[in-house]
């Protein structure tokens, strides 16, 4: 079993079973320094279980995973001080203030006194909470609590950080600010292993893995995955009645009048995936006109990761089981 020497994380045949249910089913992947590695999948597909195994919180039933060159059965102390973790469930102390939470984390990770002050300021700035350090965490709005937990996981200058849905519930502006920051950190050589449901964020990842029911179904850079999984092209349009348009085109899809692979609503826009879009474009437009829906501006665009994600999820016998 070859462990790539310079990879920060190497998983080989990693498996975790709970009774008769296999949460993670023989997955292999590598994560390299200075890389944002995305781990995407529907709820309950084994994302959090995988992260817990990499942190030594759960012992794999089969296979191995190495973090920072150490086989993870029980992460030794010195390795843990080089690892940051933000769990899906809010795990700071609600009854403590922002500052107290950060001070505790800084000290617990063994930072020296002069470093602590500097890193706390850094974390406050990163979370945008300067001036509100003395507010109790439970009084912060959902998005702010998320940003505090985020900055807290970076406070001890970790070499590798595991982020489990870091920006869930965070408003678009702060999400973007956060990813800009992740990029500057990665530039300094930090490795980031992140799970997210925001597919636009997934585009920022250097490499990705799609996991479905415990198995990796796609692995590589966003471009590779799009090229490999996406056969058709994406037609984007802004119909007068988007909801009805989706219904109409789905009926067309099921009745196989046109080789439509996927119809999905994107806010007020509709994405249709089909092969040779140039040829089928007009036919799709006519279908809508017949149902007196004006297709509006139509343009053929490169598939976004969200299109790819949804297509591959549907492909693997539907959603959520």
């Amino acid at each position: 079993m070859v462990i790539s020497k310079d990879a920060t994380i190497t998983a080989r045949g990693l498996t975790k079973g709970f009774g008769d249910f296999t949460a993670v089913d023989h997955i292999d992947f590598d994560v390299y320094p200075g890389e944002i590695f995305g781990f995407l999948g529907p709820n309950g597909s084994g994302k959090t279980t995988t992260i817990r195994m990499m942190l030594g919180l759960l012992h794999p039933t089969e296979g191995t995973v190495n973090v920072l060159g150490v086989q993870v059965t029980d992460l030794p102390k010195d390795i843990r001080s080089r690892v940051g973790y933000m769990s899906q469930r809010f795990s700071l102390y609600n009854d403590l203030t922002v500052l107290q939470n950060l001070q505790f984390k800084a000290k617990a990770y063994g930072l020296k006194n002069r470093e602590i002050e500097e890193r706390i300021q850094y974390a406050l700035h990163m979370a945008g909470l300067e001036g509100r350090e003395h507010v109790k965490t439970k009084d912060l709005a959902g998005g702010w609590r998320q940003r505090l937990a985020l900055s807290a996981s970076f406070i001890h200058r970790p070499e590798i950080v595991f982020l489990d849905e870091p920006t869930a519930g965070v408003d678009p502006i702060s999400r973007r600010a956060f990813w800009d920051l992740l990029y500057s950190l990665v530039a300094e050589g930090i490795t980031i292993f992140v799970t997210t449901h925001y597919m636009d964020e997934a585009e920022h990842c250097h490499r990705l893995a799609f996991i479905q029911r415990g198995r990796i179904i796609a692995y590589g850079t966003p471009e590779d995955i799009k090229a490999e999984r996406m056969r058709g092209e994406v037609l984007e349009m802004e119909p007068s009645d988007p909801i009805k348009a989706v219904k109409v085109l789905r009926e067309v899809q099921t009745s196989r009048q046109l080789p439509i692979e996927e119809v999905e609503l994107y806010g007020s826009l509709v994405h249709v995936i089909a092969p040779e879009m140039e040829k089928n474009k007009k036919a799709i437009a006519n279908e809508l006109l017949q149902a007196d829906i004006n297709p509006g501006q139509m343009s053929i665009i490169a598939p976004s990761l969200e299109d790819v994600f949804i297509a591959s999820m549907q492909e693997f016998e539907g959603t959520d089981h």
């Binding site: 505790f104 000290k107 617990a108 063994g110």
Partner: protein, 374 residues
Amino acid sequence: MFSRIWSISIKEFLHLRYDWWLPAFMLFGGVIELLLIGWATSRPITNLPLMILDHDQSASSREIVIALENTGTFQLKSQVYDFQTIEAALERGQINAALIIPPNFGNEMASANGQPTLSVILNGAESIPATTALRTVEGIARDIGEQITIKRIGMKPETLARFNPSLRVWFNESLSEALYSIPAELGLMMEFIILLFAALTFSREKELGTLESLLVMPLTSLEIIIGKSIPVIIIGMLAFGSMLGMVHFVFDVPVRGSLGLLIILAFVYILVELGKGLVISVVSRTQHQAFLLVMLVGMIDFLFTGYAAPVDGMPQILQILANFIPAHHWLEILRGILLKGAGFDVLWINVFVLLILGVVIGTFSLRYVRRSLN
């Protein structure tokens, strides 16, 4: 290493500051509670309601009534004329005892070899006051009996007195209930406080989901355990100190032995109870379970402190079991030092057993806590 441990302790203190009800209750509440209970229960049993049916109405029968009144044990109910009143009062639990003086009691007392009889009916529904009432009436009967003997056989009173063995009580001269029951109540309070705080350490974090991020930190479980234990130890010592001070000044429970030794042994005892509390907090999944276990363990230990009944009176198996209960040995030490002024030379067995129990519980709890934390 130490700074990391201390950071956890500070966090635990902060939690206490925000949930200030908890430390406030446990420390101040604890001391006040002990004061209240000590004040209520560690006093001689007095003014038990008593009814007297005096058929004789003679000088000697009145003499007995006055004697009973002077003991202070009884609070005489109004004059009673028939047995039915007594019967009804007993049924309603309004009286603890009733004395019936037969009609010719006076003459029997006077005649040379008369056989004066008295009959006492006790309310067995409350055995403790009933036994006390019985003892008091027996005392009065014996005193009056002695006067008769003196008259009848012309024996000088002082020689008769010399037929009763003279009694001396060591370590608790006035046989005050306070010196006996308060140490046990103090021990109980202390144990509950420590067990509660120790049980809280991990069960709360487990339930609120913050334990996971703690385990990921570069802390060995030993560091986490010590970090979380320091506040509990401090609170335990504070509780012990304040309660000891209170009982000493309010109930003047003496400290006849060496205070320093007592404090050191209190520290050892706290560590032992802390070990038990840690195991409870890790075994239980929710705080609800942890607290029910605290109550259970606390009550079991309390039975072996000899408060409700002396351990020697218990069935054999329980007496053997008592040796495995730290609280039992702690009470022996506490009473030994406070009341007997016992030193290490006397108490070394208890200390030795306490240390062994401490080591056993300590290693078990450490290993168990560490195993279940990872």
